[in-house]
């Protein structure tokens, strides 16, 4: 079984955020970066799948030079192959452009049975790249996956549980499939020292648009359909009222104030 895992490097949430308003994109230079937390679950799920069903794992990332770090981490954890999609032309791609580039790269990898993604990236927070990717590839679209029940590689089938509003849905799908995973599906492992040392020595192959056959007018800022036209800070939420006094009294005051809102029935 051939498994691809898509990993994104995102700015650390603690970091100060800088925007390029001209281009309407995030300025990624000079910010601390981490692996998108949801992609750690995707990577772990790929490793677990390989351990259980055998196969080969290819990790890909799309991003500037330093995005390579997330691939080194993946190598240290034991993936078999990595590709870094790096081309100045893809900077500022929207979800449509990103899913296009990833689809082209996955087609280039070839004969893929299963793609794992995180359910969303913590920077853009859209959660739409993986379903767009599935559609572009013509693979089954399995989102919000909380558990993989069973994979039948020979029969080309997969059974998963999806966490949707109000409960859990069990779905059977044809392979190949794009599976985007939620937190809680597993406990991501940490790399060991030997893995890190080995990964440090690997020459990471880079692919540009030409290498994957991606048309430049469909990617990057130029190819984006949406553009940020305005950026504001939300009106600060001012601190309200501190309720002080004896606990019985404080509780009484709060209950009164909340009932006044006419929301509680």
């Amino acid at each position: 079984m051939k498994i691809v895992v898509c990993i994104k490097q995102v700015p650390d949430t603690e970091a100060e955020v800088k925007w390029d308003l001209q281009k309407g994109t995030l300025k990624r230079e000079g910010m601390d970066s981490i692996t998108n937390p949801f992609d750690e679950f995707a990577l772990e799920e790929a490793l677990l799948t390989k351990e259980k069903y055998d196969g080969e794992i290819v990790a890909i990332t799309m991003g500037p030079d330093k995005a390579m770090d997330v691939l080194r981490n993946a190598l240290a954890l034991g993936v078999d192959q990595v590709y870094h999609i790096n081309d100045p032309a893809i900077a500022g791609s929207d979800t449509l452009g990103t899913s296009y580039v990833l689809a082209k790269a996955i087609e280039k990898v070839g004969n893929v049975d299963l793609v794992f993604c995180g359910k969303q990236a913590t920077d853009g927070n859209t959660g739409i790249v993986s379903p767009e990717l599935a559609t572009r590839l013509g693979f089954s679209q399995l989102t919000f996956v909380a558990k993989v029940d069973e994979i039948d590689a020979a029969g080309k089938k997969i059974k998963v549980q999806r966490g949707i509003e109000g409960g859990i849905e069990t779905v059977e799908a044809k392979l190949p499939a794009v599976v985007s995973v939620s937190k809680g599906i597993n406990e991501p492992r940490l790399p060991n020292l030997m893995g890190i040392r080995k990964a440090a020595k690997v020459q990471i192959p880079a692919w540009d648009c030409d290498a994957i056959g991606a048309a430049k007018d469909k990617v990057g800022t130029e190819g984006s359909h949406g553009k940020v036209v305005e950026l504001t800070t939300p009106p600060p939420r001012s601190a309200g009222e501190m309720l002080k006094g004896e606990m019985e009294e404080v509780a009484n005051v709060l209950v009164g104030k909340l009932l006044d809102l006419k929301v509680i029935k």
Binding site: T122, T135, Q141, E165, E169, V171, M242, M247
Partner: protein, 333 residues
């Protein structure tokens, strides 16, 4: 260039043919946009039997309802629904298409966007029409709620967006208002569908945080699973849902479905009560737009107080049971 795209469309989601009033909520936002543009708000629905839903959509204000019925559409499946939806959009060419930012709305809109090769704005908290270009302006929270970004798609039609539940007012249900119903057919062989829903099991604790009007959340300060029974007692008394911080989820006290925040759910209840939650930026990202925030924390310096509408410094173990008792009394429960 004459643009043949017109009207604002709203996708009506359902679960196995069953809708709730919330399924129709975007007809309100859609009407507002359509009025500004001088066009109509329409609905589209895909299902096994859609008559009842189509009729309801009319009652909620849709001028026209486009419907596709078929046995393959009994349960929501992204590939089947997206193919059917894309066929409607390609034929009738709406200007704008709105979906709720739910698992179904997100799945369908993304699959349709990729199929139609059009942009998709997600999780809008405000929608306007740009006066000059007549393009939709979509505002969403960016980067953990620290910024509000406004997007425009001037490049492709229809302009599509998912909209965060509950940010726009519900439209009125009026049985005097009826829609013109346009039935279209789209057939799909069962063999062509890539996915099949085998089963749905309702979670015992109905954790529909996204639709809850009242949420009572607990954090590390709650101290354990027993503490969460106190939090839950308050949530139950108020008819609300129970939420949690990541620290509480990671400690294994409550399942992930309850997590609020950057890597959990983004919620906007009318009342959010945080018990033993410090107010880290990643938690605030998921709840800061709640209408009324109550913070209960024993540390007077906790950052959560900076955004709380009402704050109480103290031990939740003393305060929360008192709240339960007094609410029960006053609500005659």
């Amino acid at each position: 260039m004459a643009d043949e795209h017109k009207d604002v469309w709203v996708y009506i989601e359902h679960k196995d043919g069953v809708t709730t009033p919330m399924s129709y909520e975007l007809l309100g936002a859609g009407k507002m946009l359509a009025d500004t543009l001088g066009s109509k708000v329409c609905a589209f629905v895909i299902g096994e039997k859609t008559e009842e839903i189509a009729k309801n959509a009319g009652n909620y204000g849709a001028a026209t309802v486009y419907a596709i019925d078929g046995a393959s559409f009994k349960t929501f499946r992204p590939d089947a629904f997206a193919k059917a939806g894309a066929s409607l959009v390609s034929k009738f060419k709406p200007d704008i298409v709105l979906y709720r930012a739910t698992t179904q709305g997100q799945d369908l809109s993304a699959a349709m966007a990729a199929q139609l090769e059009v942009g998709l704005g997600s999780d809008a908290i405000d929608l306007q029409i740009d006066a000059g270009s007549k393009t939709m302006k979509l505002t969403r929270a960016a980067f953990g709620g620290n910024f509000l970004a406004t997007y425009m798609n001037t490049r492709s039609k229809p302009q599509m967006a998912t909209v965060r539940p509950k940010v726009f007012p519900m439209p009125q249900h009026d049985t005097a208002k009826n829609a013109e119903i346009v039935k279209e057919s789209f057939s799909m062989a069962e063999d062509d569908a890539r996915t099949k829903v085998l089963q749905f099991s309702q979670s015992e604790v109905a954790v529909n945080l996204i639709e809850a009007d009242i949420i009572v959340s607990g954090g590390r300060g709650v101290g354990g699973s027993e503490g969460f029974s106190v939090v839950k007692a308050l949530a139950d008394t108020l008819g609300g849902a129970m939420g949690a911080s990541r620290a509480a989820v990671d400690s294994g006290w409550v399942p992930y479905e309850h997590q609020v925040g950057q890597t959990g759910k983004t919620v906007k209840p009318k009342i959010y009560i945080a018990c033993g939650i410090s107010g880290a930026i990643q938690h605030l990202a998921g709840m800061r737009t709640s209408d009324c925030i109550v913070a209960i924390n024993k540390d007077a310096e906790a950052p959560i107080f900076k955004i709380a509408s009402f704050g109480i410094v103290g031990d939740y173990k003393q305060i929360v049971p008192k709240l339960v008792e007094q609410f029960k009394q006053k609500l005659n429960k």
